[in-house]
């Protein structure tokens, strides 16, 4: 299949029809839930991490503190689960605050 095909609309007027060149994610992959994980690091302050969780996820202070303490004591905490794009967005926000965060596929 050529990369670009054309559809004739009316006399002398054509528009390029969209062509799927490569499929990066199939429907099944898009349905797989992802989780946002924050990992412990010894430099970030506990109060700072709590504030970041409140800001990024809109969590109330108590919930943000619970996650912060889980990161501190267990080395990691799952902050959020859901679709990949949203998970990527959250991880980008967390990296903006210089937290160690990753997104993981839930298997």
């Amino acid at each position: 299949m050529s990369a670009v095909s054309a559809v004739q609309l009316d006399k002398g007027s054509t528009v390029e029809a969209p062509v799927r060149e490569a499929e990066t994610r199939n429907e099944e992959e898009l349905d797989v839930p992802w989780q946002v994980v924050v990992h412990n690091d010894p430099v970030n302050l506990m109060t700072y991490v709590t504030m970041v969780f409140q800001r990024v996820f809109g969590y109330p202070r108590e919930k943000a503190e619970r996650h912060m303490l889980e990161v501190h004591h267990k080395g990691r905490s799952i902050l959020w689960c859901g679709v990949r794009e949203r998970a990527e967005f959250y991880v980008q926000q967390l990296h903006g605050y210089l937290l160690l965060a990753t997104l993981e596929k839930i298997v």
Binding site: D41, P42, V43, N44, L45, T47, Y48, M51, E88, V91, Q92, H95, G96, Y97, L98, L100, A101, T102, L103, E104, K105
Partner: protein
């Protein structure tokens, strides 16, 4: 040194030349160039999946670099108040607009992470807040990390109190 909030500004007053110099070093301390460990810490991997990491490097990392640079530039502009020789730094006051608080938190965090990564501090060292006196370059770096952390704590407290 005294630190307080007065309306829409944070004020650090009675600065001695040593602490003023540490403040002036914040922007330079955020520089991770030529330090692979510090680079890797500031721009950490978002996932174990290679495809995500490749996309991230192309699209997200440049955004993060811009954000970090912008924060550092804001802090450097505020610190221009401390330009001058050592004598003129005695008992100086630094005034920081409260709307710059986020930029300060970010730049201080960058600096702390880069310094800690370069010095390869252990968890034990990082939790030793009472270490004194400063007898080596390493002690000085640890003091710097703790001093910047103290400033972060103050800014956070003021943010939470509204």
């Amino acid at each position: 040194m005294e630190i307080c909030r007065k309306g829409e500004v944070l004020q650090i007053s009675d600065l001695d030349p040593f602490l003023a110099e540490l403040l002036r070093q914040i922007p330079a301390s955020t520089n991770s160039e030529g330090e692979p460990g510090a680079e890797a810490r500031l721009f950490s991997r978002p996932s174990a999946e290679k495809e995500i990491c490749v996309e991230w490097k192309s699209y997200v990392e440049p955004e993060l670099r811009r954000l970090f640079r912008s924060s550092t530039e804001t802090v450097a502009e505020d610190l221009a108040q401390l330009n001058g020789n050592e004598k003129s730094l005695r008992n100086r006051t630094l005034t920081i607009p409260f709307e710059h608080a986020d930029a300060w938190l970010n730049a201080l965090n960058q600096a702390r992470l880069v310094i800690a990564e370069k010095a390869k501090f252990t968890d034990e060292e990082l939790n030793d807040h009472d270490r004194s006196p400063i007898g080596s370059r390493r002690d000085l770096s640890l003091f710097q990390v703790n001093f910047y952390g103290f400033l972060q704590e103050f800014i956070l407290r003021e943010m939470q109190s509204g």
